[in-house]
């Protein structure tokens, strides 16, 4: 059976070149970078080399990069670390309704511990209004944390404008750029960012590695204490092979970004057009065109439930994801789709296809061949579809 992986926003395969490089550091150059001997020095040099590659893709200086175990840890370090560093100044934090759980849950943890939270809304395309952020600012606001691009619908936020606002008011500005990093250009300086989270496994690097950009002069209280690695910002024996793999993945991403973005956008548009043509009662979630990531397509297929769709697609070898409550193990469907004003039912039937380097036109053709059949089968079972069809018929008759 054909296997089509369309879940690159969840995670990507490791690039073969990256994997090969990592192997060397697992089995041959395995020294601890803190060690004085040549094994240690080799590891240390490669580690610093990787730091440069990550910095370069952000427009940052290598000394401004702190490696972590992933995007989630970097988000926690940025948010709690800033809250603790600034708690004398104030305890008010601004974030948005469509952040990743790594940001939202962390903010809510702080809320339970005496901080105050303002969550700015989004419009029906998932977009934050700069004015809403401005209005939310108070004298005791110490942190604004807004994501660059959304992981479910791909909406790109007006980061530079929000950054300017924050900089003018002297408020620390953190950006979760896990989804945009390596996919679209980033320049932390032009974007007025103080802290930025990135993650390796979304850009064909290994899982379990991420980084936090900490602008020179910005203070963040560490979360992990020990041997004082990463300039005391994050202790623990460095995951050198992982970090080196991440660095390599950044180099490759830098080379391929422009071409790949165009290629994926074309595949995405082809898939969207095909779905719209072949299936009725479908809604595109998120904006069209420039304001979204090239590789993400999110649609709601009405009257059916996301997990049922995913399982059926999976039986045909197609891997996608959904914002349905039934897939998340939580009680509510995607908070992102709800924040965009979708009803529970429509949010339930959401499907996210996220493209990656190995995807081809044939993959899209295959999905367009399978998906309509699956939708038909599931709608046959759905009590909601009947109703809709009947009301449509009666509407038609009434005209």
């Amino acid at each position: 059976m054909r296997r089509v992986y369309l879940d690159h926003s969840a995670t990507t395969p490791v690039d073969p070149e990256v994997a090969k490089l990592m192997m060397t550091y697992y089995t041959e150059k395995y020294g601890n970078p803190s060690s004085v001997h040549s094994f240690g020095r080799d590891a240390k040099a490669a580690l610093e080399n990787a730091r440069e590659s990550v910095a370069k893709l952000l427009g940052a200086q290598p000394t401004e990069i702190t490696f972590t175990s992933g995007g989630t840890e970097a988000d926690n370090l940025a948010i709690i670390g800033t809250a603790e560093a600034q708690s004398k100044k104030g305890k008010h934090i601004i974030t948005s309704a469509v952040e990743h759980h790594a940001v939202l849950e962390t903010c809510e943890f702080l809320e339970k511990n005496g901080y105050e939270l303002t969550i700015v809304p989004v419009d029906e395309e998932g977009l934050i209004a700069v004015e809403d952020v401005e209005k939310a600012i108070r004298p005791d606001t110490i942190l604004i944390t807004i994501m660059h691009a959304n992981n479910e619908v791909g909406t790109i936020q007006p980061i530079a404008e929000i950054g300017k606002l924050a900089r003018d008011k002297g408020i620390v500005f953190h950006v979760d750029a896990v989804q945009s990093f390596g996919k679209i250009p980033i320049d932390v300086v032009a974007m007025n960012v103080d802290l930025m989270t990135v993650s390796s496994h979304k850009i064909y690097g290994p899982k379990g590695v991420g980084a936090l950009y900490i602008r020179k002069g910005v203070r963040v209280i560490p979360r992990i204490y020990g041997g004082g690695q990463e300039k005391k910002r994050r202790s623990g024996t460095e995951n050198t092979p992982g970090i080196i793999g991440f660095g390599k993945a950044c180099e490759i991403a830098a080379q391929r970004m422009e071409e790949e973005a165009a290629r994926e956008a074309k595949l995405r548009d082809k898939l969207l057009e095909g779905i719209m043509e072949k299936i009725d009662y479908v809604k595109l979630n998120g904006p069209q065109g420039e304001k979204r990531l090239p590789g993400i397509l999110n649609v709601s297929i009405q009257f059916i439930e996301g997990e049922a769709l995913l399982l059926s697609l999976d039986m045909m070898g197609i891997a996608a994801s959904s914002g349905s409550a039934c897939t998340s193990g939580s009680l509510d469907p995607s908070h992102v789709l709800l924040a965009m004003g979708l009803t529970h039912e429509i949010a339930h039937g959401s499907l996210r296809f996220s493209f990656g380097r190995q995807n081809t036109e044939e993959d899209v053709d295959y999905v367009l061949e399978q998906l309509p059949k699956i939708v038909e089968r599931l709608r046959m079972m759905s009590p909601l579809y009947d109703q809709a069809k009947h009301s449509k018929c009666s509407q038609a008759k009434a005209q």
Partner: protein, 124 residues
């Protein structure tokens, strides 16, 4: 995640559809995930002659619907009333812990349908 039996009932659900002029209809919505299930009964004497379902829900919801219809077909109303959520889950060789509430959906819809049947027959 799901057992083979769950996947079988999900991919090849038994008794999907509607019954015209049913003797009983039960519909439940799951407060937890907002899903909906409807069960139709065709009762002859005290025997459930035919049963159909329609479900808007996850794989487990579809599979439990399918399983519950299979379990009650040919049974008496009294026997059908004894079918519990746990029995449905068990018949599917178990469900993931996060999905146990989906089996409630199926048994509850059945019980609603029987209630509806009783109300209708009482009226006659």
């Amino acid at each position: 995640m799901y057992t083979e039996k769950v996947m079988d009932h999900f991919m090849n659900p038994r008794n999907v559809g509607e019954i015209e002029n049913p003797d009983g209809v039960g519909e439940v919505g799951n407060a937890k995930c907002g899903d909906i299930m409807r069960i139709y009964l065709d009762v002859d004497g005290d025997i459930i002659k035919d049963v159909k379902f329609k479900t808007f829900g996850c794989g487990a919801a579809v599979a439990t619907s399918s399983m519950v219809t299979e379990m009650v077909k040919g049974k008496t109303i009294e026997e059908a009333l004894k079918i519990t959520n746990a029995a449905v889950a068990e018949a599917l060789d178990g469900l993931p812990p996060a999905k146990m509430h989906c089996s409630n959906l199926a048994a509850d819809a059945l019980h609603e349908a029987i209630k509806d049947y009783h109300q209708k027959t009482l009226k006659v």
